[in-house]
Symmetry: C2
Subunit: 236 residues, 2 copies
């Protein structure tokens, strides 16, 4: 058998792309690449008898202190180039105390609202939120994983928009909703066109209530109407 | 290091869940489990330097003769139980001429309209279409993969219904559309309720044209209106 025809025998890792919205920006959770100044996605080799789904929860908790986060498996990254940088290979072999060789990773994805509990747990483990608009160069193919994960989030936004409203307060202003879209798409939306677009969406309902105690002109509140949403889905 | 804490070192395979609609039923493409009477999904161990996406195309073509099919990666199956049946293990080791040990698979998914070219290619390789309503017991976790793949198809039906119309003629009758839904959901839909539901969908447009040369009462044709579909998506 030619070397090119050898069957793959690989270590398997998990990497987690955890996106958090802070009301202003979309962030991704990063940890230190142990023993270096570099940053990376939370991830690790997994054990021989683990299933990747349960390994993902374990790895995320061990590295970031975050428990019970709903993780969705989104993609296997398996290019032979992904672990070929000599620095990455040396770091891997030092960290795991063995030659690692071929390494594929199963990436998991989550999108959440950044809150105090989450941030406190993460701080204890030296994990931190980094704006997706300002990602550092990361080891392995972690920049590619983060980019593809963000594309996946944009697809969710289009195919399952209900999930957006879990990232906002129950009553939100048009400006808050626009900030969320701008954070996900990493671009500005024209205010007037955005308002027109939203006005056509039957499940985003303007309330009679307005902001109080604000310096600027008080804005109307809106709410997500799940019944109207489900009715619209029925007609899709 | 305890055995339970050994890092995973695994062979990696590809399995393909290829669904085909024949106008009546949803089918899945199966091949013979080489040297046995059993049936399985088209799949194989992949090579050391392959990326799973390119391996998926290669494996499908080698096993079924089908080229250029758009395959979507949908899930890694990695339970330690998936390759523990002694018959499966013996078959694996005989087929690949080596101890296989831990084996994870990356499953790919496709949905197509069964046509002559596809069927002719598949016949030459002894692949065949099996109704999803009548799947045999398959080796490894192939029944689970097929079931989860079918759930994924149902999710596509809900989140990206445009793809349904690639499985129908350009002009189709209400009965043809209902047959497609019944094939995907494996249940009967009440005719009257189904027609009511479809009448509310703005991108399914009734044409003036009717069937000709039919023994029963001629039915109206409908078409998919992509512009109306995209407009509706904009308001989602």
């Amino acid at each position: 058998m030619e070397p090119s025809q050898e069957y793959m025998y690989a270590h398997v890792s998990i990497d987690c792309a955890i996106f958090g919205f802070d009301g202003n920006e979309l962030n991704i959770l990063l940890i230190e690449k142990e023993g270096t100044a570099a940053q990376k996605l939370p991830g690790s080799l997994i054990y021989q008898m683990e299933d990747t789904d349960s390994a993902a929860g374990r790895v995320l908790c061990e590295l970031t202190g975050i428990r019970k986060m709903s993780l969705r498996q989104f993609r296997c990254f398996s290019s032979p180039d992904r672990a070929m940088d000599p620095d990455d290979v040396a770091w891997l072999e030092k960290t795991y105390g063995r030659p690692v060789g071929r390494l594929i990773t199963i990436a998991y994805l989550s999108l959440c609202r950044i809150n105090r509990t989450l941030s406190a747990a993460a701080r204890r483990k030296a994990a931190h939120w980094c704006p997706v608009s300002d990602l550092p160069a990361m080891p392995f193919d972690h920049n590619r994983i983060a980019e593809e994960a963000l594309c996946e989030i944009r697809q969710w936004t289009e195919s399952e928009p209900a999930m957006l409203f879990e990232l906002l307060p129950v009553k939100f202003t048009m400006a808050e909703l626009r900030a969320l879209y701008e954070a996900i798409y990493l671009r500005r939306f024209d205010i007037r066109n955005f308002c027109k677009k939203i006005a056509r969406i039957p499940y985003i309902v303007r309330l009679d209530e307005k902001q109080t105690d604000v310096a600027h002109r008080a804005a109307h509140y809106y709410k997500f109407d799940r019944i109207a949403y489900n009715q619209l889905r029925q007609s899709m």
